[in-house]
């Protein structure tokens, strides 16, 4: 029972992390290498808010949504859009945008290291147990699970039940035809980067609530998000949820019963199994 909640929390977190990336990568076709460091930056933001300003992480969570959206939007519009224009979204864009986001990653990482150093940080928030069917569960885990599920639902509905979501999917499946339908792929890409930014910010705040974090974890989060994105199928929200949960539960179970050092091996083991059964990911389309 306790194991189940630990798995759900970790899985929910991975799913959430991957959702922002799957949208950015799947729709705007830009792999944002600074994704992981933004997550850590948001975690530090929540830390400073809680420890130095006395702002509750729940409040920080609410503020992080518009802030993350704005930053994501700005990242696309100010840094990436000029590259999209210059390369006319051709093959050169892949290389240019990788370099640009890689560079951005180093800048933010440098700034965070300068301010906070390389140590692990954590604070205690809602760490008292709540009893569910007689099992003690830390309250912050429940927050993680609820937020992850709520955002998944929101994004899923947004993508599949709204006009704007349909336009986003149209750009994702066929940017050239989207133009013919009167959809501006650049506006949609900026929007999607904003949504990704909001998801990043929420993920970072959530991580700070229940895991010790350090600047060095940025790459790990980027890797895990990427793993989940590929496993779930590029652009698929429900795929993220399923793949994220698979990974979260796999890791939790192995860490508990075998050895915590094996989590990375489990990650890639699951990754290979899923992709050998379904090469395009769990919900992937065969293109």
């Amino acid at each position: 029972m306790e194991l189940m909640f630990a798995g759900l929390a970790l899985g929910g977190l991975y799913a959430l992390l991957a959702m922002g990336l799957t949208l950015q990568y799947g729709v705007a076709r830009i792999l944002n290498l600074a994704y992981g460091i933004f997550v850590i930056a948001a975690a530090f933001g929540a830390y400073v808010a809680k420890v130095q300003l006395g702002i509750s992480p729940i409040v920080a969570l609410l503020f992080s949504l518009p802030l993350g959206f704005g930053l994501g939007w700005a990242l696309y519009s100010l840094l990436l859009l000029p590259l999209v224009r210059r390369t006319r979204a051709g093959p050169q864009l892949d290389i240019d945008s990788l370099l640009a986001t890689f560079g951005l990653m180093f800048v933010i990482e440098g700034a965070l290291l300068w301010i906070f150093g390389g140590n692990f940080y954590s604070y205690s928030y809602l760490s008292h147990p709540v009893y569910i069917a007689g099992t003690p569960v830390e309250a912050n885990r429940l927050v993680v699970i609820l937020v992850a599920l709520a955002l998944t639902l929101l994004l899923h509905v947004g993508m599949n039940r709204t006009r704007l979501g349909l336009a986003v999917r149209a750009v994702e499946v066929d940017p050239a035809t989207a133009v013919l339908a009167g959809i501006d792929a650049r506006t949609i890409s900026a929007l999607v980067f904003g949504v990704g930014g909001a998801v990043v910010a929420v993920s970072g705040v959530i991580i700070s609530m229940f895991l010790p974090f350090s600047v060095s974890m940025a790459t790990e989060f980027l890797m895990k998000a990427l793993l989940v994105v590929v496993m779930g199928g590029l652009g698929s929200i429900s795929g993220c949820l399923l793949a994220g949960m698979t990974l979260g539960f796999g890791e939790t179970i192995v860490a508990r019963f075998i050895d915590p050092g094996l989590t990375l091996a489990v990650n890639f083991g699951l990754f290979i199994v899923v992709l050998s059964v379904r090469p395009a990911g769990i919900f992937g389309r065969t293109v």
Partner: protein, 236 residues
């Protein structure tokens, strides 16, 4: 309605279209005829804003200057395009494709009307609204593509080789639908290799040779010309 002059397209040193002049009015079907590589697709793509053309071109749709618009704005201005090789969202459903076609239009009353119109033109789509387009036959996909374009309520519809890969029966069915579209008020400019079939429903035609429009006129005047018939209509 659609009024074009001085339209030139170059790919590097290669001139694919030189100083094209043409007109398409509401309610007429105009065929663009020409050999492979003559520049037909380049002309269609230039009109839709999908390839760069030499500056100084004049492209007007009614009072709107299309040369000032971004590609995604051209649809909203009233010029819809079905490019060579379709232009459907393969992994989306028929219904989603049609809904997306109306993305640039904002009035929901007319959405209903257009949706009905498309389903009346292509009744086969009615039973398949939930089907993913990539699983449909070539002819059915072409119906979806044209339906998608019609959903924006265009004044002028551009079609690049709509009958490509279709059986003779399916082509006839498609051409009949295109004639109906024009009769309902939309002007159609279509590229066709299948000149004999398309001339049966067309009003006028342009002939492109090596990037230049060398001839234009009523389809009857084309049918009277034996040399042309041999070159483009096959046999005599």
């Amino acid at each position: 309605m659609l009024d074009v002059s001085g339209l030139s397209v170059s790919y590097g040193m290669h001139v694919a279209l030189a100083e094209a002049v043409l007109k398409v009015d509401r309610g007429e079907v105009v065929v663009l005829l020409g050999a492979n590589g003559a520049g037909k697709s380049s002309l269609i793509k230039a009109l839709a804003g999908l390839v760069r053309y030499v500056t100084g071109a004049h492209i007007r749709l009614g009072a709107t200057d299309l040369t000032r618009l971004a590609p995604h704005q051209i649809v909203g201005a009233g010029l819809a395009c079905v490019p060579e090789g379709r232009g459907v969202f393969g992994s989306l459903s028929v219904r989603e494709n049609l809904t997306l076609g109306a993305y640039s239009a904002t009035d929901h009353v007319r959405f209903r009307d257009r949706n009905e119109l498309v389903l009346a033109l292509f009744p086969k789509l009615k039973m398949r609204l939930r089907q993913s387009v990539q699983t449909m036959s070539g002819g059915e996909q072409q119906m979806v593509a044209i339906g998608r374009a019609l959903m924006s309520g265009p004044v002028i519809l551009l079609l690049d080789e709509p009958s490509l890969g279709l059986s003779p029966a399916a082509s006839d069915e498609l051409f009949a639908a295109i004639r109906r579209i024009a009769d309902l008020g939309t002007g159609v400019l279509m590229v066709e290799q299948n000149a004999r079939r398309s001339f049966a429903i067309a009003d006028r035609a342009y002939l492109l040779e090596n990037g230049a429009i060398v001839r234009s006129g009523n389809v009857n005047t084309f049918l009277d010309d034996r040399v042309l018939i041999r070159a483009y209509l096959g046999g005599d």
